[in-house]
């Protein structure tokens, strides 16, 4: 049913419909409204989950790991500092192949401390073995949760995943969102049946260490599972369409790209602003378009290559910064690799860090800079501070 609600509450509603057995999360702005709402649901008996009020993010994800290993569907959510604090556990959960789903209300990382949005937190965990999907609006956030459990728990995948959405910009915004009913969700997402499990009636040891004779093959298996997750997502996406009408068959979304000679590439909520800007610029006669990356991990290189083929100028709108990298943005490097064509000019623009607002005029500004040949740079700095 189409309802209007805060993005965080859309998350909470979606999580509730996924029926996690155990929830363990630690509050951090801007993720808080999610866990608060879930706590309310539990307190009111609307949601029959064990809610563990942990003392830190480190324990949050560790507890999720334990519960998952014991056979439960689990859920967590965090942001920024919290994600960094659990970095070691993140790598661990992926290596242990537990299908944990975690919502990330994206936020900048310190120092300096900032509670505001960019995507440095999840991007910094890009090696960790979690799939990472970025939502543009509340609808995607909500829908991604159903898809995430489906994909994570797929026997060919068995990997954990982040559902990323821009903190405040999406988490704290009221907007219309279609929340399905329990029956349809249950039909789409059956209960979790673990492949490996802690069980006294059938003992096994989990999380052993691997000598040089075995380690590399285990890492290979994780990478393979990640590749499999793309297939699983496409499959789940088309199944989702059958159930709910909305289409998530692709890991990317193309917006007015087919005839474009300039493409923006972006992740998350800024795609909405870019779409509006693209429409405006089209009216001005500029043949621009947008490639939205939904799945950053696995990185859909083939699709991106295809979608951008023939477009000579590409501007990546990056809400992250890999300090000391030439290109500066982490996404740009991979887009460039995907295109693999030096005829194409791929520029990375670091923008909107730490909650710096991104307006349509900035999108247009990026276009101007790219046309002038200025790229791989910050955009929108206050010169007077430098």
């Amino acid at each position: 049913m189409l309802q209007i609600m805060e993005g965080s509450h859309a998350v909470a509603e979606a999580v509730k419909l996924c029926r996690p057995d155990v929830i363990a999360a630690y509050p951090i702005t801007p993720q808080t409204h999610i866990v608060e709402r879930l706590a309310d649901m539990v307190a009111d008996g609307e949601l029959d989950s064990e809610y563990i009020c942990v003392e830190s993010e480190f324990s949050a994800l560790s507890a999720c790991l334990g519960a998952s290993a014991a056979g439960s569907r689990v859920y967590s959510a965090t942001s920024s500092q919290g994600l960094l604090l659990m970095a070691e556990v993140c790598f661990n959960v992926a290596g242990m192949r537990q299908p944990v789903v975690m919502s990330i209300a994206n936020r900048a990382v310190g120092a300096p401390l900032s509670i505001w949005n960019d995507q440095q937190d999840s991007i910094s965990l890009r090696d960790a073995g979690w799939f990472q999907w970025y939502a543009e609006d509340a609808q995607e956030i909500s829908d991604f949760h159903f898809l995430a459990y489906k994909v994570a728990e797929d026997n060919n995948v068995l990997l954990p995943g982040f559902i990323c959405f821009d903190g405040f910009i999406l988490s704290h915004t009221y907007e219309p969102v279609d929340i399905p009913d329990q029956e349809s969700v249950s039909a789409f997402l059956p209960p979790y049946h673990p492949v490996i499990q802690l069980d006294a009636t059938d003992p096994m040891t989990m999380g052993m260490y691997a000598t040089p004779d075995y380690y590399m093959e285990f890492r290979y298996e994780i990478d393979k599972a990640m590749t499999q997750s793309a297939i699983a997502l496409r499959k789940a996406g088309s199944e989702f369409k059958e159930h709910f009408g909305r289409d998530y068959g692709e890991l990317i979304e193309e917006y007015r790209l087919s005839d474009a000679d300039f493409a923006f590439v972006a992740l998350g909520s800024v795609c909405g602003t870019i779409k509006d800007a693209v429409d405006e610029m089209r009216k001005d006669g500029k043949k621009v378009g947008l490639l939205k990356i939904r799945s950053y991990r696995p990185f859909p290189a083939e699709e991106i290559k295809k979608a951008l083929s023939g477009i000579p100028l590409v501007a990546i709108i990056e809400k992250n910064l890999s300090i000391g990298s030439r290109m500066k943005g982490a996404v740009g490097l991979e887009v460039k690799d995907a295109i693999n064509d030096s005829g194409v000019c791929v520029y990375s623009y670091i923008i909107g860090l730490g909650g710096r607002d991104i307006r349509k005029l900035h999108i247009r500004g990026v276009y101007e800079e790219a046309m002038k040949g200025n790229g791989d740079t910050f955009y929108g700095l206050r010169e007077e501070l430098l």
Partner: protein, 85 residues
């Protein structure tokens, strides 16, 4: 032999590691002295002393020859001897 998912395993395989080969000294059980108190079985870190036909018997496949059983036997019924291999 493909890998088990998540670096996991079921019990059993430990026994493929025959730690008996580590042994430099070997416990010799003198059943004439043994009072069947069971101490040696209880305290062997390898858990490799078994009650077989009413006799506490070390499993030399695993016994590392640490000497703990000999040291603790209240009846002095175990002596350590240099291993001959």
């Amino acid at each position: 032999m493909p890998l088990n998912i998540g670096c996991s395993a079921r019990p059993g395989k430990s026994q493929e590691n025959k730690t008996g080969s580590w042994r430099v000294f070997k416990p010799d059980f003198h059943y004439d002295l043994c009072t069947s108190c069971g101490t040696c079985q209880m305290i062997c870190p390898e858990g490799c002393i078994n009650l077989i036909d009413d006799k506490f018997t070390p499993d030399y496949t695993f016994c590392k020859g640490c000497g703990l059983c000999a040291e603790q036997c209240p009846a002095d019924a175990i002596s350590m001897k240099k291993e001959e291999k």
